[in-house]
Amino acid sequence: MSTQEATFAASANGKPIVVLKGIHKSYQRGKEPVNVLNGLNLEVPEGSFEALMGPSGSGKSTLLNLIAGLDKPTTGTVSVAGVDLGAMSDAELAKWRSRTIGFIFQAYNLIPVLSAIENVELPLLLTHLSRADRRKRAETALKIVGLADRMHHNPRQLSGGQEQRVAIARSIVNDPQIIVADEPTGDLDRESADEILQLLDRLSKEFKKTIFMVTHDPAAAQHASLVRRLDKGALQ
């Protein structure tokens, strides 16, 4: 990788970067509380590429949201990158997320009215970087995903696979420690899905990013170094 690209590499030393202890999560649906996660414990070592699979409604996305700092457990502790998320306010969590987490969703990742490079630049608006620096970082990120030649295209002009690649570029532009991906290949055909997974591979091996991926796709799971199964709120 180039020196620029190296700025995106993490140092992986195998220590757990995500520690969840005694996690219970329940929602109030009408009269009955619904327990989504029951007494769950999880440790994710730094630098690993992990997949989480399970039937619909098993709580996969909920678990992902806890790791990403988007949600808080009903009881239990969540510690990510050495920080206790339970102690943080919404404002602090937002700031933390912008620095620590990179997001890839199944669909609607990109803002339709912004070009590819502007979409990638979006997380950097929350930093104090100058306009020129923002542009440079975004370009580099796009180069990494191989879409530098389409940087001024709108999402409408990109294929599904290309859109997801831009989403990946956006997810690394703020140099996060963890990338969370919620069904990143869910809407894609086989060929595009493979492209995406290869990119994630590269991020994991070359750039040493910790990747936590929720997926239905067994082929996607194969790229992961560890596959967990979640069923009825507990890890298998």
């Binding site: 988007l70 009215v113 608006l125």
Partner: protein
């Protein structure tokens, strides 16, 4: 690239809706400007009325007359400048019964002295003064009726019945915009000579200049006190006071127009609010992802508020762009010519434009508040869940 850019690009995305909304705002602003200009123009007579001229008329009712010698007697009151007397004639053009223009009998020399805002060329002035049945006509009235200097016209009297002939001796314009240019003035003597003894030597009102405008109220009282001792009591007021009390009798209409101009702003706000709300409802997913990435609720709110402001400003600007030619070229000129008594000048005041644009922007922000709050409050998970 920043939040503002996001807002404006989002507006471009649904171009038809943005354009329609801007058009709606434009129509509202145009109507608002028209209504306010009507109000401003109508009440302008009060603001423009001079402070240094007072009018003396019968105390009880303007329908009754004063004895002519009052016009000389008034000269005894200290602090007064030149003075003149007039009678409302109230004639009509027999060819057009429904048309209205003012016809007034005056003493020409003192009249021009007291009303020095009336501009007459020296030739026209001479011609008028020398011709007993001469008439001095406003240029707008002359243009409308097709009258030229030298024409002999016949008018039907109402208060003083019969057919009266006049010769157009000259045209007048004015130094100030607010002066009505559709009046016909003629010699008082011409009228008086034709009257029977019972109606002779009566004047309608006296107009006098005061040397010190700040003393106008005191001097008016002094005049009324003096005439109170004589056969007919008087009421003296400054021109400004007179105009403002004339307007008071229309206070209900003015209030109604005020209310109506607020209603149009209400309609405009509804259109804006509706459009913004529709736009934000469609973008919950987008906003959700931005929240996930780390944007705060206030960032989302800023985007929505900015959209409201931008459409409002665009529509407001468009409305003004349409309003100016519409009023300056079309409506304004028509009103000045045909209803010059009410609207001697009909122009859009800069304050009105600024007010319209300012209100549009404020209401654009206001209309966006509820949608902005709703969009900002939605937490990331709910927003994203809606798209999955």
């Amino acid at each position: 690239m920043n939040l503002g850019v996001l807002a404006s690009r989002s507006l471009v995305r649904n171009r038809a809706r943005t354009v329609l909304t801007a058009l709606g705002v434009a129509v509202a602003v145009l109507t608002f400007v028209l209504l306010r200009t009507v109000l401003v123009s109508w009440t302008a007579s009060v603001d423009a009325a001079v402070q240094d001229r007072i009018a003396t008329r019968h105390k009880v009712t303007f329908v009754m007359t004063l004895p002519k010698h009052y016009a000389q007697d008034i000269g005894k009151i200290p602090g007064l400048g030149p003075s003149t007397y007039s009678n409302w004639f109230g004639a009509k053009d027999p060819n057009d019964e429904n048309e209205f223009f003012a016809t007034i009998a005056v003493d020409p020399v003192s009249f021009l002295e007291v009303y020095d805002e009336i501009l007459v060329t020296p030739e026209d002035r001479k011609r008028w003064l020398e011709n007993r049945r001469g008439a001095l006509v406003g240029d707008m009235l002359a243009k409308k009726k097709g009258w030229k200097v030298g024409d002999v016209i016949t008018l039907t009297g109402t208060i003083y019945p019969g057919d009266w002939q006049f010769e157009i001796a000259g045209l007048y314009t004015a130094t100030r915009k607010s002066v009505d240019r559709s009046t016909l003035w003629f010699h008082w003597d011409y009228l008086n000579d034709a009257l029977s003894d019972s109606r002779k030597d009566q004047i309608g009102w006296i107009s006098t200049r005061v040397r010190d405008p700040s003393r106008a109220a005191d001097i008016s009282k002094a005049i009324d006190t003096t005439f109170d001792e004589m056969e007919v009591p008087t009421l003296t007021m400054s021109e400004r006071a007179m105009n403002s009390s004339f307007l008071a009798s229309f206070s209900a209409i003015l209030t109604a127009l005020d209310v109506v101009s607020m209603v149009i702003l209400g309609i405009m706000t509804l259109i804006l609010g509706n459009t913004i709300a529709m736009g934000t409802r469609e973008r919950t997913g987008e906003f959700g992802i931005m929240r996930a990435i780390g944007f705060r609720p206030r960032h989302i709110a800023i985007i929505v508020l900015a959209e409201g402001l931008i459409i409002a400003a665009l529509g407001g600007g468009l409305g003004l762009v349409i309003a100016y030619p519409f009023v300056e070229q079309g409506l304004g000129r028509w009103l000045e010519e045909n209803m010059g008594g009410f609207f001697p000048f009909f122009d859009i005041a800069p304050e009105t434009s600024a007010m319209a644009l300012g209100l549009a922007c404020v209401l654009g922000l206001f209309a966006a508040i509820l949608p902005a709050r709703r969009a900002a409050r939605l937490n990331a998970i709910d927003a994203i869940r809606r798209i999955a």
